[in-house]
């Protein structure tokens, strides 16, 4: 019948209006993104607090976007002095994390990285041989 469809539509929207909105009040309540979401790359640390990276270069070989930079210790080729991530370039494909034979890299759940300074998007995971952030302890 002409017009009943219109009334039905009005009823549906009214039901939505009376129901509870599905909106998440983002800045006031943080809901963690899904566990398998890929946001930012971080590095595990040992029990001693040293970075878990063994400077094997597998992540860099695997990276399709030339995002990572690794500087080895000239004295100890299994130790990284510097590990830089350019998050303004990264596609978060996860190949570095999957490739890492030592499970040194992992994805964080941190997404609040918007910045006015483009340089701040390039961040160090290892600087002068030490982890620059409070990483999770290396998985056994």
């Amino acid at each position: 019948m002409f017009g009943s469809g219109l009334l039905k539509g009005l009823g549906i929207t009214l039901r939505h209006a009376l129901g509870r909105p599905v909106t998440e009040l983002y800045p006031f309540e943080h809901k963690n993104p899904p566990a398998n979401s890929r946001t930012f790359i971080a590095m595990h640390v040992n029990e001693e607090g040293a970075p878990a990276c063994r400077a094997c270069n597998t992540c860099i070989v695997g990276c399709p976007d030339r995002v990572l930079k690794l500087v080895k210790d000239p004295d100890d080729p299994k130790r990284a002095v510097e590990f830089v991530v350019n998050s303004g370039r990264c596609t978060y494909c996860g190949l570095c994390v999957e490739n890492c034979p030592f499970d040194a890299l992992y994805f964080t759940q941190d997404y609040e990285r918007a910045t006015r300074d483009k340089g701040a998007l390039i961040y160090h995971l290892i600087e002068d041989g030490a982890c620059t952030h409070e990483g999770e302890v290396d998985r056994p």
């Binding site: 219109l6 009005l10 929207t13 939505h16 209006a17 129901g19 509870r20 909105p21 599905v22 909106t23």
Partner: protein, 323 residues
Amino acid sequence: MSAAMWIHALLWLVGLLLLIAVVTVMGVWWERKFIGHLQRRRGPLHHGFHGLLQLPADMVKMISKEDIVPDSADPWLFQIGPLMVVVPAIAAMAALMFAPGFGLLDMNHGLFYIFAFQTLLPLGFAVIGWSCASKFTLIGALRAAAQLISYEIPMLLAALGVVVAAGSMRLTDIINAQAGVWYIFKEPLGFAIFGIAVLAEMNRTPFDLPEAESELVAGYQTEYSGMKFGFVQLAEYSVLFTGSYLVSALFLGGWNMPFLPASPLWLLLKIVACMTMTMWFRGTFPRLRVDSLMSLSWKWLLPIALVNIMAVAALALALPGIY
């Protein structure tokens, strides 16, 4: 006119300007809030109490935005455009009666006066769209002109039914004649036609073709930046207010309420309800196609309105006590 009358009129006009500002601010806020809830969103929420400071912020921003005049635009018509929509909107509001004897212009042809100024708006929209010399604005202006003049006739004919029944064009008389039964119950057909036509006259969804955002960028106001856009919004919301007032006054009994004493509060309540209704439509209905929009007016509403007016006139003659 004596000096006292001039002052009285000026005070009223300042009050009406304030009313337009309040209607626009509260109308836009309520529209965004209500449509947000219709879509299970929250609407403006974080600036001020439930987003009440949102609209003042928008206005401050609009006033301080650059006013772009395109090179191809007609410089005079481009500047006059907002005048041609804001002035009729304000002038039409001057004749609204908010309570018995409480209004600026209590004319014996008040209804005609309001219609006269309301129907000047398509001219303003056409001038706005034509002056910008952009394809989007031109199409928007033509659509506005065609749509608004097409729906004007059913609207006038439906309102004529009320005039026949009340025997007067004075708004106070029309509303007082509904102290018993509202005209919506006496002329349901007229109410339906008037509601649809007024909805189209107000450029509201599902008849918002002149500014169809998904087809015509922003329709006739595409080239308007900053406060010029604000003026068009101002005019649209005062037309929305006037249209809701007309529906409430002509068909919903104005300040009358059954079993309760008459009060301007009821009128306000009905106006707000009508405005909310249009927002509800906007949150629900898809936009009409141009050809179905035109055929709805000319092939359906106009013949039905003619039948309606002749039937109402016959009833008014045959049953003088009831009609």
